[in-house]
Symmetry: C2
Subunit: 341 residues, 2 copies
DNA sequence: GTGAAAGCGCTAACAG
DNA sequence: CTGTTAGCGCTTTCAC
């Protein structure tokens, strides 16, 4: 069933059929009805390729993501996809893994498929070395590129980020002010946002004259293996590192800290404080429930899509937008002690 | 840059360029080299639409999923996407939500986009009422449809499922044989696999003459709101329902049971046993760590893709494949008591 | 081995 | 308001 069949059955030209298909105004109500009837009757749907060939677009956005099964990234993809759909776009998803080479491959593939825009979900797409980010700049020469929780200054690249630095800075200051000095910063990613978080912790500890390099601990290993993270913390303790607080760059790491503290028979939060990040469902999984920083993922996604649609629409849009996070207090942190006067 | 430009620069016809592009044998090594050089030099990549128009395929599979941020579904999507990519196919992802109407919309959209096949991830795509599944049968008239963890007998529909019935049956029998009689079955989905699990529990309890309707408890509400689930269990207790074991259809529900048991000051597993399902990362999040049924998601996905690629390749493939699950013992269930003789 | 030419189904000028 | 027609870029017979 093609546009020709329909035009024939309706007794009009293909141009007219095309017009009603595309909602052009220059069609009499009568012929419009007639054509619509035939279309309905034969369940006709236009061929997307042919349309794409002519228009050179398929109303499709490419979504790139290192690992769509990651709790946080999965949520982001979900929001992005739904909002895109609401805006009349479809999405092609590519899980790239964490290696640069496969990211480049996937990206080229999407561009070949003529996506109208690209969304890079997660900060791991940005590399330390300037030259490693060239693939993004090149892609942006073809289609607008949106960065979620990452930042790159290049033409046609737009960033939407959460202010991880400030969130971490403030949370750290607050934990110190509840009376904890020996706080381990526990993280597992050196990505853009990973760095910002660490910088926030550093700035706060520095300000409080408490910064200690050995309390900054990187965890290598599976992002989901909580027992392994817990073991890692136990090892730190065994090696003589004293700490009564953990600020984690992710809720999984914080959860491991909760398990560690329990294993050590610390009372939480009286003897030991823990702060998580992302305010994921994990925060409510453990006992006591985790205080965690919420970086407003859904709002970020909403804004990102709004910006993208604006760009595709030819409007001028902000190159970079920053939202601030919020610390969601639960039971793993103390309240600030009232000043005794 | 089109095939015409390349042909011109290479001093050959477009047909020849097309031949080298598609690896046809009837090209002399010399011209092949020359064409390849030009292609390389100009970074030429064929237009996917034009190709699609002619071939009527774009080597793309549509993935439908109710909620890609669901822990289990996200994992499934991840595996499916990666294996598809390895097989030379791309994937278009559509998150549909849980309502039938939007599932139908998304499905039509994907078919319009001329996907070569459809993968429905999760058992919630199959409905009780025969007529509600018509949309799948109709889709299957156009392209092969793969069902992950669901079952529908129709032409061109293929199912890959985990044997949830048997897994649940055996786990239930085992829990009873460790000495627990008052086991609540706690679930939140009436999907195909949801029903199979429940049936397994029922069969086992029936066999042990322990079946009690009021111990089968459905949880309505957000799938991620563990505190709400915990409250629900407390309410059951308050209403006078006695139970010292929970078999949950999902790890989240099981986690809630762990929290409940702790709140009640039960010792786990001495006073209270809990079994989860899916063996997700959540199983290692709580304390004690959760015994959970692993339904071998990655293997299911692998098989599903293999089957799909086979079908697309015109080979005869099994309509339905069943894998059995495995119970992963951790600390929330007791060992079977040795028989005292 | 290679080239010419006929589509694939649709959109958008252009003409009436 | 409606029809005619020229592409969009590629694949694929069919000749040579």
């Amino acid at each position: 069933m093609t546009i020709y069949d329909i035009s024939e059955k309706a007794g009009v030209s293909i141009a007219t059929v095309s017009r009603v298909l595309n909602g052009s105004s220059n069609v009499s109500e009568k012929t419009r009805r007639k054509v619509l009837d035939i279309i309905e009757q034969y369940q006709y749907a236009p061929n997307a390729f042919a349309r794409g060939l002519g228009l050179n677009t398929m109303k499709t956005i490419g979504i790139l993501c290192a690992d769509s099964s990651d709790l946080y990234l999965a949520k982001a993809i979900y929001h992005v996809e739904r909002k895109l759909q609401a805006g009349g776009y479809d999405s092609i998803l590519c899980c790239t893994g964490y290696e640069l080479a496969s990211k480049i491959t996937s990206m080229n593939l999407l561009i070949t498929k003529k996506v109208d825009g690209l969304i890079l979900v997660g900060s791991n797409f940005i590399y330390e070395k300037e030259s490693d980010n060239k693939y993004i700049v090149e892609a942006a020469a073809q289609v607008p590129v949106m960065l979620l929780n990452a930042d790159l200054d290049a033409p046609n690249v737009y960033s939407v980020v959460s202010d991880d630095f400030t969130s971490m800075y403030e949370a750290t200051i607050q934990m110190v002010e509840t009376g904890i000095q020996d706080i381990v910063y526990y993280y597992n990613s050196d990505s853009y946002s990973g760095k910002r978080k660490l910088a926030g912790y550093r700035a706060a500890m520095n300000e409080k004259k408490l910064l200690s390099g050995q309390r900054i601990q990187f965890y290598r290993g599976s992002r989901e293996d909580i027992p392994a993270m817990t073991e890692h913390l136990k090892r730190l303790h065994a090696q003589g590192l004293a700490f009564h607080g953990v600020i984690a760059a992710d809720d999984t790491l914080a959860l491991a800290a909760v398990k560690y503290a329990r294993a050590m028979n610390y009372r939480i939060p009286d003897d030991f404080s823990i702060l998580g990040y992302n305010n994921s469902m994990l925060a409510e999984c453990c006992e006591p429930e985790l205080t965690s920083i919420d970086n407003k993922l859904e709002i970020l996604c909403q804004h990102l899509i709004t910006t993208l649609l604006g760009v595709l629409d030819g409007r001028e849009m902000p190159k970079k937008t920053i939202f601030s996070g919020e610390i969601v207090r639960r039971r793993t942190t103390r309240r600030i002690e009232p000043v005794v006067s």
